[in-house]
């Protein structure tokens, strides 16, 4: 099905420059997510992580540079079109539909699909992976706990049968127990063949599951490499990964 070379990355950002009004947020940002991998983008507050997600999903439009997905340029496409091509998202702060039930939220995840039977099967499969949600199917999503909401957001992203899931700080605000659960789930999802692009502040957590990581500082990639190398380099650890933020 894919006519690209096996090494060609699934997602590739090439020299993006993004702005909010006059303020530049990205400076020649380049990174890539190879198919089948978990890639993390690390960085402190206001470094431009969420904006990277938005640029991939077409929610903001970079002034220059290209975003490629599966070899095709997707820069400037409308968000729904990008989603249809196989990118799902777990947005910052979950962004569930608060007045809809959990089930409705999950089905909204499959909005781009029209194969009713397969959607039903996927719903069952997703609920097997997130058993806690089964008993809450009829509950309004806005009334769930933060951890449960994170589960719904991840399950919802899976319902679109994506090739790539972009997650913005999926462990933010969760108890240690839930954090572990979320990390496990991300790895499970990835083992099923879904690539993951994950934005995180909490570097040591993210580096435990990542295949590759980038460090973003004030809109510039200042560092990149496999997690092992990052963790072993004391200088890097102190400069970018130390003093873990409380949240």
């Amino acid at each position: 099905m894919d006519h690209q070379a096996p090494e060609a990355p699934l997602l590739q950002l090439d020299r993006l420059n993004s702005y909010y009004g006059p303020v530049q947020v990205h400076f020649d940002l380049s990174l890539s997510v190879p198919a089948g991998q978990i890639v993390c983008l690390l960085g402190g507050n206001a470094s431009g992580k969420s904006t990277t997600m938005k640029a991939i999903l077409g929610l903001t439009r970079p002034h220059s540079g290209t975003v490629r997905f599966a070899g095709q340029p997707i820069t400037g496409l409308p968000t729904p079109e990008i989603v249809r091509r196989g990118i799902s998202s777990v947005p910052e702060a979950r962004r569930l539909f608060p007045a809809m039930t959990v089930q409705e939220n999950l089905l909204m995840g499959a909005y781009i699909r029209s194969d009713a039977r397969a959607i039903g099967q996927d719903l069952d499969r997703v609920l097997e992976r997130f058993p806690r949600l089964r008993e809450r199917l009829r509950q309004r999503a806005g009334t769930l706990s933060g951890g449960e909401q994170q589960m719904v957001a991840m399950a919802r992203a899976l319902m679109g049968r994506p090739r790539l899931i972009c997650m913005d700080e999926p462990t933010m605000g969760l108890s240690p127990l839930f954090v572990e659960r979320v990390l496990d789930l991300i790895q499970e999802i990835n083992r099923d063949g879904v690539s993951v692009f994950m934005v995180e502040q909490n570097a040591s957590l993210a580096l435990r599951i990542a295949h590759f990581a980038y460090v973003l500082q004030s809109g510039l990639i200042v560092l990149s490499g496999p997690p092992g190398r990052m963790l072993s380099d004391a200088r890097i650890r102190d400069a970018y990964l130390g003093g873990e933020p409380g949240l």
């Binding site: 989603v83 947005p91 539909f97 007045a99 909005y111």
Partner: protein
Amino acid sequence: MMINQLAFGPWLDYTVNGLIIGNIYALLAVGLALIFGVANLINFAHGSVYTVGAYLGWASITYLHTPLPVTLVIVITGSALLGVAIERVGLRALHGSSRIAPLLATIGISLVLDQLVQLFCSPDPRALASQLPDLRIQIGRGTIGTLDLLIAGVGLVSATGLYGFLRYTKLGWAVRATAQDQDAARQMGVDTDRVNVTVFAIASALGGVSGLLVGMYYNSIDPNMSFDATLKGVVAMMIGGLGNVPGALGGGLLLGLTESYGIALFGSSYRNLFAFALLILILVAAPNGLFGRRRDLPPEPMTGTFIARSRPLRLPRALVAGVVLAAALLPLLPAPYLLQTLTTALLSALLALSLTLVAGTVGQISLGHAALLAIGGYASGLLALDCGLPFVWSVPLAGVITALLGTLLVFPALRMQGHYVSIATLGIGEIVTLVILNWTGLTQGAMGLTGIPAPAIGGIELTSVRSVYWLVLVLVVAIALLQTRLLSGHLGRTWRAIREDEVAARSYGVAANRYKALAFGFGAFGAGVGGAITAHLYSYIDYRTFDTTLSILALTMVILGGLGNVAGAVLGSVLLVSLPELFRAAAEYRMLAYGLVLLVLIRYRPQGLLGTV
């Protein structure tokens, strides 16, 4: 017992009547709530769609002799298409601009639509027969007619249809998701543009049908019914909670019943007073509506509603002085008509100066500002007529009264933000008009004030066009200078700070409400003086002399000049008042022109003529 039995019949009639009218309000409010949900917008063009729907029905009955079902289909289709056009042509380009911009655009659209209806179908009322057999079913001592049943039926069918659509169709799900979180919906692959168009089509179809039904109910339609419909729809929606669709249904019925019982108890001229009093009450006491469960949305989601960041263009002092000098020397030319026009323009500049301070500098977009003119005009007129006060005393006193009364009236709105301010000021403006209309003992009610003495200073009547012009010019220049001084000082900085970020300003210890009240008071004084002079010039005013159209016009002037811009307010008034006047032929297209100016400005130059970004 006897009394109860006697009263039962009429009360049943009042209840039925309230429910029927409430049904209409509900149809309007549901549409407004749907639109607010997905577009975060109070659609002031909604009433115009309702009017167009009524006229479409009238035209198809009159010219095509269609039977009722066909008429309904035509009205539904036509109104839906109009809704689509409004969204595509008027609003889509404004996506991403601040939220007050599309609201103002819908005001522009409504001006244009109303004027078009007037041009094509004449401003006079038309009869719209119901096409139904005139049967009435006797229930106890009350009756229910076929039309009542039709209206109830349409309401029921629409409500169930809408429920089914929202709950069981994919597009309906998309509508709900978009209403809850537009960005998240897009990330699920929802084409939110399509959702918007769909919602405008549905809402407009409901609006158009309700226009047709109301026309049949009263057997009369006219192009001026838009505004009232918009207001009632907005009130009903606010009762139910902004954007709450089932709430809007309940709100409509409740409003209909309230009005109907109110009429039963106090008489029909109080009808609208109930609606607006209810509106203000809701805004103050329950801004989330009566049926809103504790929403996950913040109660006032409409902050930061500025049209455009704009810094005033710096005009060289010499230029300003030159223009003022030229204006002062103008009466030496033998051009009385020009002078008269400019006098009118300068009088409206007093209103615009006031509005540009409140809306531009402090950021409270007021939609009922003309009410200040009415207060000033009536105050000065009554002081002159009833107390025999001379012009030089009654006018400044009227200014003070307007400042006090205006600030007092607007007090409930001071702690609100964004759209809520606009709706509240609109409601307060309407209340002022209605009080003037109903307080016959003081204001002569619908008769108006007649025989207000002409302006006079020191016993000498200012009868010449020239002297009146000079008087108004001096006033405008004085107030403009004073306003400029205030703006460049500490007070101006504080006002701007409140506009930029009220929360931050508050946390620095600024008593925001007090400063807003101060701006309002100062502005109201100028507007009151303007209204007072107008009253003495016209010698006759009534409750319609200073109506909402004037408020909208003032807003257009202010936006044209650049929100918050003192020189811009004067320039905007002079341009908008005198240009149409000078092209006399275009008199009947005036509102059309204003509407288009407003639309073009918001789209292409939101910072106004004298603003830079």
